[in-house]
Amino acid sequence: MGNPEVQHRPLTPEEEARRRKRSIAIALALGAWVLLFFVLTIVKLGPQILSRPM
């Protein structure tokens, strides 16, 4: 819930472009974070990842 007394103004095109760039950077960082944990899991477990009890 936002404060009803706060006046919001529309972002300028320059501000919107900046926010869009920041959103893309966050998405890329999130992807890198997932990839990092994937690589870490594979490297740590190695071939054993396929030899688990059914």
Partner: protein
């Protein structure tokens, strides 16, 4: 003793901040990228001088975590020091005093990266490395930034421990323990830090005084600071050769350590002798620049010897 808290504090409102927040490079600047490069470099040397083996992927992920942890502590430092950064020419253009990022954003960013880097290092390497990284972040952000920096002229002497720890973390990643090799590298960076920063502080004494930071030239005076720079350099030069005596520094390292050590002493004596005007400035900047070259050359020599087969034993 000055107050433990900063006069304006992290609550200082950022001037004319845009509703859209900061740009991506502004967030990157919060991490002090040049310091991150130095941290990666020294941690890597700590890894290669260690008697052990680590999988390349684990080593790379660990280095990334160490670098991000260092960046996070730099971010928390900028959050806390926004008030004094604003009154110093060297730091006034940093994202918070420049009004590009709010204090709250910087705090959240720094805390998140601190926790994330420690967790990743713990999962990738081991608990000791993660604990050392956490200690480094807390020491730099809390002990140095929030306490020592504004409280004592020994700020960068004690605070230098944070900058000296990356080789120790590097060795912990590889071996799961801390050995004499990384402790010697820690000692070299630790003793190198005061003469390096005090050379800059001699020139920027007015700015530090305006910001209320008790740097050595402002507290003990320029003459005492110059003498201390010489003493530290006299101690650093032989300390820089200890890796040769312990057998993990070879002939290349010995030559660079010897020439560099003599250079450090020579530049420090130049600082001691040139006390006025343009000559004083040139001597101090010479010391500052050469000290960077010296440390970089020492660590590069170790890296080259251990990684490219250039190691030739000096003793035995």
């Amino acid at each position: 003793m000055t107050s433990l808290t900063n006069s304006i504090g992290p609550d200082v409102p950022a001037p004319a901040l845009s509703a859209a927040g900061g740009d991506v490079p502004d967030y990157f600047a919060l991490l002090k990228p040049r310091v991150m490069v130095l941290v990666i470099f020294t941690a890597l040397v700590g890894m290669v001088v260690s008697q052990g083996h680590v999988q390349p992927a684990i080593g790379a992920i660990s280095l990334l975590a160490i670098a991000i942890g260092a960046g996070a502590s730099g971010c928390l430092n900028m959050w806390w020091d926004a008030d004094i950064d604003a009154v110093m020419s060297r730091t006034a253009k940093r994202p918070i005093p420049a009004g590009k990022i709010t204090s709250e954003e910087a705090l959240g960013f720094g805390l998140f990266l601190s926790v994330a880097s420690v967790v990743v290092l713990g999962l990738a390497a081991n608990l000791l490395a993660a604990a050392l990284l956490a200690f480094t972040i807390v020491f730099y952000a809390v002990v140095y930034s929030m306490w020592l920096k504004r409280a004592t002229a020994q700020n960068i002497v004690i605070g230098g421990a944070a900058g000296a720890l990356p080789p120790v973390i590097g060795q912990a990643v590889v071996t799961g323990s801390v050995g004499i090799e990384s402790l010697i590298l820690f000692a070299i960076i630790f003793i190198w830090t005061p003469p390096h920063f005090w050379a800059l502080a001699l020139i920027k004494a007015d700015e530090y005084a305006r910001a209320g930071i008790p740097m050595m030239p402002n507290v003990a005076g320029p003459a005492s600071t110059r003498r201390q720079i010489v003493w530290y350099s006299l101690f650093l030069a032989p300390l820089g050769l200890v890796p040769v005596a312990l057998g993990f520094g070879g002939l290349l390292y010995a030559v660079i350590g010897l020439v560099g050590g003599v250079g450090m002493i020579a530049f420090s004596i130049r600082v001691l002798r040139n006390r006025h005007g343009e000559a004083e400035k040139r001597a101090a900047m010479g010391m500052f620049g050469f000290s960077i070259l010296y440390l970089f050359a020492l660590f590069s020599a170790l890296l080259a010897e251990q990684s490219f087969g250039l190691f030739r034993p000096v003793l035995g």
